[in-house]
C-alpha cells in the first residue's frame, strides 16, 4: 500500500494529536486530584447521600470536565498504542473505529448519568 508523503505521521494528523494529548493531560492533573478526593467520600455513601453530593454544583461540573478530558485523553493515548503494535492496515482502521465508538459511548453514558443525578 502506498502512503502519500505529507509529513503527517501514521494517522495523518500531524502534530495536533500530540498537542491535544498534552492539553488534556494538563487539564487532567487537577481534575484527577479532585477525583481522588471525591472517591473515598462517595465510596462509602448510600444512594441518598450520593445524590446529595451530586447536587452540589461543583461535583457534577468537575465530573463532566473529568469525563470529557479523561476519555478524550484515553482515546488519543490508546490510538498511539494501536498504531505502535498493530500493523495490518484493515485491522488498525477497524480498531480505531471501535475505539472511537467505545469512547463516544462511555462519554455519553457518563455525562448523561452525571446530569441525571445532579438534576
Amino acid at each position: 500500500m502506498t502512503v502519500e508523503r505529507r509529513g503527517l505521521g501514521s494517522s495523518r494528523t500531524g502534530t495536533s494529536h500530540w498537542w491535544r494529548q498534552r492539553l488534556t493531560a494538563i487539564a487532567l492533573a487537577p481534575l484527577t486530584v479532585f477525583l481522588v478526593g471525591l472517591l473515598p467520600v462517595l465510596a462509602a455513601a448510600t444512594h441518598e447521600e450520593f445524590v446529595e453530593i451530586m447536587r452540589i454544583p461543583v461535583t457534577p461540573v468537575a465530573l463532566v470536565l473529568l469525563l470529557a478530558a479523561g476519555l478524550y485523553h484515553m482515546k488519543l493515548g490508546l490510538q498511539v498504542v494501536i498504531e505502535d503494535y498493530v500493523h495490518g492496515e484493515p485491522v488498525k482502521v477497524g480498531l480505531r473505529i471501535a475505539l472511537t465508538l467505545a469512547t463516544c459511548l462511555l462519554a455519553a453514558a457518563g455525562i448523561v448519568s452525571v446530569v441525571m443525578l445532579a438534576a
Partner: protein, 132 residues
C-alpha cells in the same frame, strides 16, 4: 545487505538490561492502559447510580468487596504514577530536565512519590470512608 550491520538497532528488549529510564517509560504506557479500564468502570459506576438505588447497591457491594478493593488499589497506584510521571513528561516537553543525571533522579522521585502518595491516599481515604 552488508551495510545493515553498521546501522544502529533499537534495544533488543530480551537482552537489554532494564534501567530506571526504560522501565518507567513502559510503565507510563502500562498504567495508561490500566487507567483506561478504570475510566470505563467509573462510567459504569455512575451509570449504576443514575439507574437507581437497586443498581447502585449492587455496584457499591462490588466495589466494597475484597476484589473490588484490590482493583481500586491497583487503579490508585496507576493513577498516582501516571500523574507524577505525566508531569515529568510535560517538563520534558517544555525542554526541561533532560540531563541524564536529572532524568534518573526525577525517575526515582516518581517512584518514591507514588509509594508515599498512594499510602497517604489510602490512609486518609479509609479514615473518611469508615466515617466518624
Amino acid at each position: 545487505m552488508a551495510d545493515m550491520r553498521e546501522r544502529p538497532l533499537s534495544p533488543h528488549l530480551q537482552i537489554y538490561r532494564p534501567q530506571i529510564t526504560s522501565v518507567l517509560s513502559i510503565g507510563h504506557r502500562a498504567t495508561g492502559i490500566v487507567l483506561s479500564l478504570g475510566a470505563a468502570l467509573l462510567v459504569l459506576w455512575l451509570t449504576a447510580a443514575a439507574a437507581g438505588p437497586d443498581w447502585f447497591d449492587i455496584a457499591q457491594r462490588c466495589a466494597g468487596s475484597w476484589p473490588g478493593y484490590a482493583l481500586l488499589f491497583v487503579f490508585s497506584v496507576c493513577l498516582v504514577y501516571h500523574l507524577l510521571n505525566g508531569v515529568r513528561h510535560l517538563f520534558w516537553d517544555a525542554g526541561l530536565g533532560f540531563e541524564l543525571e536529572t532524568v534518573s533522579r526525577t525517575g526515582w522521585a516518581v517512584v518514591a512519590g507514588t509509594v508515599l502518595l498512594t499510602a497517604a491516599i489510602w490512609l486518609l481515604g479509609l479514615a473518611v470512608a469508615e466515617g466518624p
